[in-house]
Amino acid sequence: MRKLRCHVSPLVLALVSMPTVVLVVVLLAPAPAAGQAFWPKETPKLPMARTWIAQKATLPPYTPPRTPDGVPDLQGVWSGAGGDNNSVLEEHEYIDVTTPAQESFVSDPRDGKVPYTPWALAKRKEILAGLARGWPGESGERLFTSPGSFCLNAAPVFSFDAQEIVQKPGAVIMLSDDAYRVIPTDGRPAISQNAKLWFGNSRGRWEGNTLVVEVTSLNGRAWFDSTGQFYSENTRMVERWTRVDANTIDYEVTIEDPTIYTRPWKISFPKRRAGTGPRDAPRGTSVTTALPPATNDPHANELWETACYEGNTESVDSIHAIGFNWFTGVTPPK
């Protein structure tokens, strides 16, 4: 399943010149992107951090196989977070067909809320009210739309999506259909904190069975989800990737930023080896899943060029025309 990157449907693109406010509001209701699932209203609340933490506590100890270089073998194709992916980070009830009820991604604090400072919480609420998605509590103002709508990939959201992990001596490489990460594990120092990147600068090390990745130099311009959950240029992330059985990686990221959060907090969910997800998990239907599987297609497992490149041209134009601002990050008070 792909993460919901674009909340403006292709239909908007053709009709965006129509001036009616009502029409724009209706059309801005998220329409499923390619591969995006539709979820019926009666879908049980989708599991995320809370269910995973409980499940993880029951797992027997596991020692992962090693690569020829003697480090834990994380290689293979791994699913994303599942459910409606990172559409909405915190726990929520059913919102619309692409946003079913789902637990929070946040495993710590236990209430599943991002522990913003009062200043940051006010900023976050301002962004939320100005999303113009047709959701309750909106101001009608069009403030910002998710930077993910422009297909700008960033940490940690890349890790929420499916990817293939390839290991080479001194590096772990993560590959998706439209982006990549190369994480050196050779002990080299990070780039200067004066250099800022969408993905930040990743440095990995092995601690027992776990790949620990420190991410610094983040540019603070991306969101954790599509509803304005933000971080800043001061944010530091520490990811922990641990095989907990043959077909599951426990993914955990700790996010620290005293300028906008009252305490470090964590996101956690399992990543399943492609094709091995729990069979009884609730599933949405999409154009892709509704079709019978192509049994003899030699291209079935290939990653083909996505439209999520080149600034995703059409959605850029329409989002600009509708009047959203360009999100350039937050400036926390000193």
Binding site: L175, E302, E310
Partner: protein
């Protein structure tokens, strides 16, 4: 399917009939270089590479202009063999290159241009595919090596569909299914959606790859033509791919500028 098949036959013909390029470039070794092997037994060309030519500005010999270094061309024979009917378009492209070059709009540069953009790229080899990670636009390109043929067209991709094979120490990549929206360089050298590219990556030392490309496009060129340049392994101890998210800069620059015509003109 038919177009691909025709292109494939033309491509084979081009490979078979054109004289093999002898000792191209400054890096051709006098004694053949034997590269190390991957665990799968293929030539190991993994690592971070970059072109140092001026091909991204102009594939042919050119003088300097503002922001553009002078340079020797990389085209075999010096001149791209346009069909007479295509030359006017090339000239118009050149005259309006500051605004018409698709790269100024941050579209993916296509193949082979992305190879000689002034940004590093990293080659990652696995048994079933060779993956190229480009710093430019964080683009990722999968070259399937498992013998599965190109998918049936018509398909129009910015980067085309890449299928590779090993010929001795050379990685040979056949690329079809392009759109007609990319250029080969800033000078307006262009192609149609009938473009067929064959790339050949040959290690000539631990620090050099020879990059030979055959271009075929019967709608635009009178005959297949070739370009060739060395690719250099980045030697910096802390060498790694960083980011050039081109459209992020462009969008930020244009978004809140009321005088911008960027969004109307795209």
């Amino acid at each position: 399917m038919r177009r691909w098949f025709v292109g494939f036959v033309f491509g084979l013909a081009a490979i078979c009939t054109l004289t093999p390029t002898p000792g191209l470039g400054q890096t051709a070794a006098t004694t053949p270089y034997t590269p190390p092997r991957t665990r799968d037994g293929h030539p190991d060309m993994q690592g971070i590479w970059q072109a140092l030519s001026t091909a991204a500005w102009d594939l042919e010999d050119h003088q300097a202009s503002l922001g553009v270094p002078a340079g020797h061309g990389v085209v075999d024979g010096g001149t791209i063999p346009y069909l007479p009917s295509a030359l006017a378009r090339k000239k118009e492209n050149f005259d309006k290159r500051a605004t018409l070059d698709p790269v100024t709009k941050c579209y993916l540069p296509g193949v082979p241009r992305i190879t000689y953009m002034p940004h590093p790229f990293q080659i990652v080899q696995q048994a079933d595919k060779v993956t190229i990670l480009y710093e430019y636009a964080s683009a990722v390109r999968y070259i399937y090596m498992n013998g599965v043929p190109h998918p049936r067209g018509p398909i129009e991709w910015w980067m085309g569909d890449s299928r590779g094979r090993w010929e001795g120490n050379t990685l040979v990549v056949d690329v079809v299914h392009f759109n007609d929206r990319t250029w080969f360089d800033r000078a307006g050298n262009f192609h149609s959606d009938a473009l067929h590219v064959v790339e050949r990556y040959t290690p000539t030392s631990p620090y050099h790859l020879l990059y030979d490309v055959t271009i075929e496009d019967p709608k635009v060129f009178a005959r297949p033509w070739k370009m060739s340049m060395p690719l250099y392994r980045r030697q910096e101890r802390n060498s790694e791919l960083l980011e050039y998210q081109c459209h992020a800069y462009l969008l930020e620059q244009e978004w809140n500028n009321p005088a911008s015509t960027f969004f109307e003109k795209r």
